[in-house]
Amino acid sequence: MKAVRKVASYSLPVFVFFAYLFMYVPIIVLVFYSFNGGQSSHQWQGFSLIWYRELFSSVEILDALRNSLIVAFSSVALSIVMGLFFVFYSSKNILQKFLFAFYGSLAAPEVVLAVVLLSFFSFFSVPLGLTTLIAAHTLVALSYVTPILYSSFKNINVSITEASLDLGATEWQTFKKIIVPLLSPAIMGAALLVFIVSFDDFILSFFCSGPSTMTLPMYIFATIRSGATPVINALSTLLLIMSSLVVLVFTLFRVRTRVF
């Protein structure tokens, strides 16, 4: 009986250990082989950085990286500005009631959102490209940004705004000099979150970008489909490092995102 108990008390940690193992083994192997000297993906041929060198000399990848960065930065900027205006200028009650509407685009599978936007664009014959991509990403970004900004705007004491208005500041001055600085931690958090969401997004970009524009995740997808080269290992490793840094920032500064 005692032995059974002992086994039982060890089974949970062992189970958790194996779950983590399964989550991390593929990623670790991937990182490991990105430093491989040869073409093979299952034979170690010595340490080398050739795939990283190749990565930074590929015009296609750098082009995709540039597109990804343009889209990510524009959608961060647009969504933050729009989110701030939503939060500040719409009266509290209205936003409170309609806050759930911002979750809508997250509640549907992303494919659905993507084709919804695609059919919208094609009905009005908007040519697909960077502009449509930025519009699509901004829309999704807003559904992350607005609730985050709103929840910290709610915590700002109303009397601060009132004091500012009483002391003769215009609404715009109050917005610029009082509200935005007070919200800056939330703005930073939301910006980082949205940046990574946009930068990593594949499905929306896949549908809304048209034939000529390619982002980094789209490049990865195309390469995997046509038979991956070790350059992808190097690229993936760099992306993993980037997202780990972001997660580290989130944990260190205790940024509360919505999902957890």
Binding site: L12, H42, S105, F202, I220, I224, S244
Partner: protein, 261 residues
Amino acid sequence: MYVPFVFIIFVSFLKDIDYSVWANFSLQNYSQLFSSVYFIIWGRSLALASVTAVLCLAIAYPIAYFLVFRVARLRNILLFLLVLPFWANFLVQVYAWFFVLERGGILNSALLKIGIISEPLRILNTQFSVYLVMLFCFLPFMVMPIYSSMEGINKSVFEASFDLGANRWQTLTRVVMPLSSSGIRTGFFLVFIPSFGEFVVPLLLGGGKNMYAGSLISFLFLETKSIEWGAAFTCLSGIVLIIAVFVFNWLLKKVFGTDRG
């Protein structure tokens, strides 16, 4: 933001998107969709989504339980490791599994070494690999909400439950599960809804042999460019998904109870 959503419903009733709008309003797209081929596709997607979500729940629940109630010192680092794949690029995660599953990959070589098999198995491009990768890629989505709902449980409920004569199993099923049921439901749908529309994993790891709802949507929109038809299929898939969500919500409340007791 909701204009496009209303819009796709409208487009789905059109015969052809290019001609004058009101002239070719029809139900043609929908009548074409009531054929067994499409029901099989919805069925397959529902199967994939529900199996993924149920297996995720089965694995995620013990993990969350362990993180909340069993570890103290390691908790932060284990949480960090759990959140990390959550933010990592989805494609990178899927791609990483190639190293494990391919013919000369580590799973095959490990099995060969142990001597369970004598010849490499074909794992890539099978249903098995699709389900396996879906499971592990969506696992963090399930653990996080369950973790945060369990975190709020007052530890003294265990003592209360044991004092009142319940054994461990009864405490788990009658006390802890109902108290964390909102997290279970959130996690379930965070996995179920995206899996229903998933097309990347079946395409890359399943060899694209089987059509899922997501794959058909992307096929109709991007390969054949039949936007009206794709719109109709998307709308019906949405309805199928909504019905499924309601059914599972009811089912989960039945099985795990609600926190209101």
